[in-house]
Structures are given as structure tokens and as C-alpha cells.
């Protein structure tokens, strides 16, 4: 359970200007605790990765930041506003400053690519249709899909859908863009394109990127700062270089992708022999 504080000067200064601060967060689903006192600081304008094994609540954390879920206790401060204490109307206002790339893309299936990207602009601005067209084409150009503007979501490949969803997430130039498992299920080319895009867009647009992922190499290659979550807690945090030097078994297992270790290969179960001998008692 080694928590490494940033040692370098650049890492320390990174955490001075914080856009999202999670303080002593606890959250449970039913009787199952997901977070047990989590503290996370997301530096402004950087790419921050939240990593950890499957089922540790990484996506839940994004939903908590976006106010789609409310914590049991603790606080989540986004640009000075405490998200859990915001009313429904204020939540929708603060979400205008956030963009989110969902794992499934979550494109609106009754709209084509162009309208999907134009949708947030039409809803939140009074811009003339000509200007909206130009903005949408610029966003599509940024993700390399300008030629696909009139396709329906059902006509897109998985990688293309993810890029269209990315274009939609940045259509209002949000201050924070959250990526939920952006590399999952992508072929190596699409993955490379997405890695490149996330980094490039972060630099070009200056927004803060929060990536939730368990794809180690891709995430380490673009993240400025990383939080590693397991067992409902932050077990390590630091820059990618700092993370590679941590000796903790739990961290090593995750970073090196070892099949067994502190995170066991087997799900909790009764003794195998005993279960085999008691046929018919339970499955």
C-alpha cells in the first residue's frame, strides 16, 4: 500500500493548480464498498490517468465527478464547486464545462455523425447554423473523420465511433474531458490513433484530460500524472516514471501485468476439494 508522493519539482508544481479535487471519498453499491476514503487531485491542463484492475470503480469515479452518482461521504470539488451539493439545475450547468467520452461511444443512434457533434452546440449556444457547420467540420477534421459527416452511427466501425464521440465531447471546448476506457476493444491502429489524438487535443486545446483505463502501456505513454486504485483506495500515485520505480507488490503486479499476486487469479471461493466432494449441496 505504498503511496508515493511526487518527488520531482515538476510533479509537485503540477498539483498546485488543481481543477478537480476529491476529498476523503467513500461510496458503496449496496453492501459492497467501492471507495474507502479516496483523495485525488487532478492538475489543470494535464493528462491524468486513473488506473487499476477491472471492477475497482474507475468508471464509477468518473460518474461521481460528473455528478451522475452521489458519494456516501466526502467531497468532489470541480472548479471550486462542490458537485455532491449541487442541485439538478446547477449540475447541468457545470456539466457544460465537462466533456465525456463513454466506453461505448454513446452516440445518438437517431442522428448522423454531423448532428451528433452539432447537438451540444445547438442546445447550449445560439450560434447560427453556418457557424455550427464550420465548428463541426473543424472537430471532425481534428479526429480525421470529416469525410464521414453524413454516416449514421450504425455505419461506423468501433474505432470511428469512438473518434466521433471524442469530437462530440470536445464540441463545446470543455475545460475537462473525461475518457472512460478509451482504448478498450480497439485494434492496434485505432488505439494508436486514439492515443495520439488524446495527447494532441490536450496540448492544442489546453483542456484537462482524465483518462480511466487499464491499458498500461498506452496510458503511461500519454499521462502526465497517474493514480492507481485498488481495494477502494489509492495505492500509488505519481508521474509515469515515478510509478515505474515503486516496489510495492500490488503496484508491480498491475504495472507488469502479472497474472497472480496481491490481486488473486481466483475469485473468493470455498475450498475446491471440499466443494467437489459435496455434490448437489451448492453450485
Amino acid at each position: 500500500m505504498e503511496a508515493v508522493s511526487p518527488a520531482t519539482g515538476s510533479a509537485s508544481s503540477m498539483l498546485e493548480d488543481v481543477i478537480v479535487e476529491i476529498k476523503d471519498l467513500t461510496f458503496s453499491r449496496g453492501n459492497r464498498p467501492i471507495f474507502k476514503g479516496v483523495d485525488i487531485k487532478i492538475p489543470r491542463g494535464k493528462v491524468t490517468a486513473i488506473m487499476g484492475p477491472s471492477g475497482t470503480g474507475k468508471t464509477t469515479l468518473l460518474k461521481l465527478i460528473g455528478g451522475q452518482l452521489r458519494p456516501d461521504s466526502g467531497d468532489i470539488v470541480v472548479e471550486g464547486s462542490s458537485v455532491p451539493s449541487l442541485g439538478r439545475k446547477d449540475l447541468f450547468v457545470i456539466r457544460e464545462k465537462m466533456g465525456m467520452l463513454f466506453q461505448s461511444g454513446a452516440l445518438f443512434t437517431d442522428m448522423n455523425v454531423f448532428d451528433n457533434i452539432a447537438f451540444p452546440i445547438r442546445v447550449h449556444t445560439q450560434l447560427p447554423e453556418e457557424m455550427i457547420r464550420d465548428i463541426v467540420l473543424m472537430k471532425l477534421q481534428a479526429v480525421g473523420l470529416r469525410g464521414a459527416y453524413d454516416l449514421m452511427p450504425s455505419e461506423l466501425s468501433g474505432g470511428m465511433a469512438r473518434r466521433v464521440a471524442l469530437a462530440r465531447a470536445i464540441s463545446l471546448d470543455p475545460n475537462i474531458v473525461m475518457y472512460d476506457e478509451p482504448f478498450t476493444g480497439q485494434d492496434p491502429i485505432a488505439m494508436g490513433v486514439l492515443v495520439n489524438l488524446i495527447r494532441r487535443l490536450n496540448q492544442a486545446l489546453g483542456h484537462t484530460s482524465i483518462i480511466v483505463s487499464h491499458d498500461i502501456q498506452e496510458t503511461l505513454s500519454i499521462a502526465d500524472y497517474i493514480y492507481l486504485i485498488a481495494d477502494g483506495k489509492v495505492i500509488a500515485h505519481g508521474t509515469p516514471d515515478q510509478l515505474k520505480t515503486i516496489e510495492s507488490e500490488q503496484v508491480r503486479q498491475f504495472v507488469e501485468g502479472l497474472p497472480d499476486g496481491p490481486v488473486p487469479f481466483h475469485y473468493q471461493a470455498p475450498d475446491f476439494l471440499e466443494q467437489l466432494m459435496h455434490k448437489g449441496v451448492s453450485r
Binding site: F92, R95, P120, V123, R168
Partner: protein, 260 residues
């Protein structure tokens, strides 16, 4: 015994919580701050999906039910020598009872299940969550237009059902069985009262439209976002809507015609 009581209590509490959630959805999507300008184009689209696309099944069902009523009515009334009253019997049956009830049942099966499946699938594919993160309230954008479309379409479909049913009965009774058309239409005109029959029938249609659409959108919005969850929600929509329509029909009938 304690286990049984515990399960019963748990089920009761979860049903009450679900009822509370459905009320909250209804309030937040329809009552709290309606946005007519934003909603108008969405409403037109939903009226098309919920109403216009239900027309075929409503018209065909209305026609056959009217024809059966004409045939059965003629057979029974002929025994008493009063087959001329078949128009009156058909019109009163349709306007008071059959049109609102059968339309609501068909509406639940066609439009209600489609609404639940559509909203459930939007939830499963994270489209509702995506709307929330874009800063758009899905209750106002997705749920409200569908609710209003249901409220508007049900009475209209009921009227169409009744008209087609009366015409279907006339086809059988007048054109096929040879009842004098003057008797058919005049008896109907003299016996059907606009306020107590037609308006009461439409009140039923409005109530059924409200209940069926409310159940359908709630089941979709609150479903477990998996293929099994959507399938169960769709089934619940049809079952709950049908039971609610039949139960409410008795209550409304007792209130409207119970003193006769």
C-alpha cells in the same frame, strides 16, 4: 415465517420506492418547467411514432370488432325482433367501453412496449448518461415529448377506433344483412348522448393514455440496462398497463354510469 415477512416487507418497500420514483419522473418531465419551444419538434416526431404508426393496428382492429359487434348484435336482437336497434347497441358499446379499452390495450402492446424498449436501449447504450453529461436533462428531452405524445394520441386513436367500428358494423348490418340504413343511423343518433357517452368515453381514453404512457416511459427509464432487463421491462409495461386499464375502466365506469 420471519424470512417470509422480511421478503414481503422488502418487496412492499421496493414497490413503494418504485412508485415514488415514477412520480418523480412524471413531475420532473411534465410538470416542472415545461419547455414548449424546445419540445415542439420532438413532440411532432413522437406523435408520428406513437400515434401515426399505431393507426394501422387501430383501424384494422376497430373494423373487425365493429363487424363482429354488428353480426353478433344482429343475431341476438333478431330473436326479439328488434334488429333495427343494432346501430344503437354497437355505438354505445364502442363509445362507452370497447373503443377506449381496446385502443388502450392495443396502444400498450404497440406503442407502450416500443417506448419502453427504446428508452431502455438508450439507457443500456449510455445515451441517457451521455445526454446528462452534455448538460441536457433526459427527462425533458426524451421522456417529456413521449409522455405528451401518448396523452395526445390515445384520445385521437380512440375516436378513430370508434368511428371505424361503427362503420364496420354498418357494413355487416346494413350492407350485408340488410337492415334499413335509416333505422341503423337514426337509432344511433337518438340514443347516443354526446356528454354522457362520447365525452365520458374520451375521458376514459385520456386517463388510459396517461397511465399507459407513464408506465411505459417509467419502465424504460428505470430498467436494468441489460438485454434481459429491457426484455423484462417491456413485458412489465404490457402486463401492468393492461391490468391498470382494465381496473381503471371498472372504477371509471362505476363513477360515470354507476347511478343508472
Amino acid at each position: 415465517m420471519i424470512d417470509f415477512m422480511q421478503k414481503l416487507g422488502h418487496r412492499t418497500l421496493s414497490k413503494l420506492a418504485a412508485f415514488g420514483r415514477s412520480g418523480q419522473i412524471l413531475f420532473q418531465s411534465v410538470v416542472a418547467k415545461p419547455a414548449p419551444v424546445m419540445m415542439f419538434p420532438l413532440l411532432i416526431k413522437q406523435i408520428y411514432f406513437v400515434g401515426v404508426l399505431s393507426l394501422i393496428i387501430i383501424v384494422v382492429s376497430g373494423l373487425f370488432i365493429g363487424m363482429v359487434l354488428g353480426l353478433q348484435g344482429y343475431t341476438i336482437l333478431a330473436d326479439y325482433g328488434s334488429e333495427e336497434a343494432v346501430g344503437q347497441m354497437v355505438a354505445l358499446s364502442l363509445v362507452r367501453e370497447l373503443a377506449p379499452v381496446v385502443t388502450a390495450l392495443l396502444f400498450a402492446g404497440r406503442a407502450g412496449s416500443a417506448l419502453t424498449a427504446e428508452i431502455g436501449l438508450m439507457k443500456a447504450t449510455e445515451q441517457l448518461a451521455s445526454l446528462e453529461m452534455i448538460g441536457v436533462d433526459p427527462l425533458r428531452r426524451i421522456i417529456a415529448p413521449r409522455l405528451y405524445a401518448g396523452f395526445i394520441c390515445m384520445p385521437l386513436l380512440t375516436m378513430i377506433f370508434a368511428v371505424v367500428g361503427v362503420w364496420g358494423a354498418a357494413l355487416v348490418a346494413v350492407d350485408w344483412l340488410g337492415i334499413y340504413s335509416g333505422s341503423y343511423w337514426v337509432n344511433m343518433q337518438q340514443s347516443v348522448d354526446f356528454m354522457s357517452d362520447v365525452v365520458n368515453g374520451l375521458i376514459k381514453a385520456v386517463v388510459f393514455g396517461f397511465v399507459v404512457t407513464w408506465i411505459a416511459v417509467y419502465q424504460g427509464y428505470d430498467c436494468v440496462p441489460t438485454s434481459e432487463g429491457i426484455s423484462q421491462a417491456t413485458t412489465r409495461t404490457v402486463v401492468y398497463s393492461s391490468l391498470a386499464v382494465l381496473g381503471l375502466d371498472f372504477i371509471l365506469t362505476a363513477l360515470m354510469f354507476g347511478d343508472l
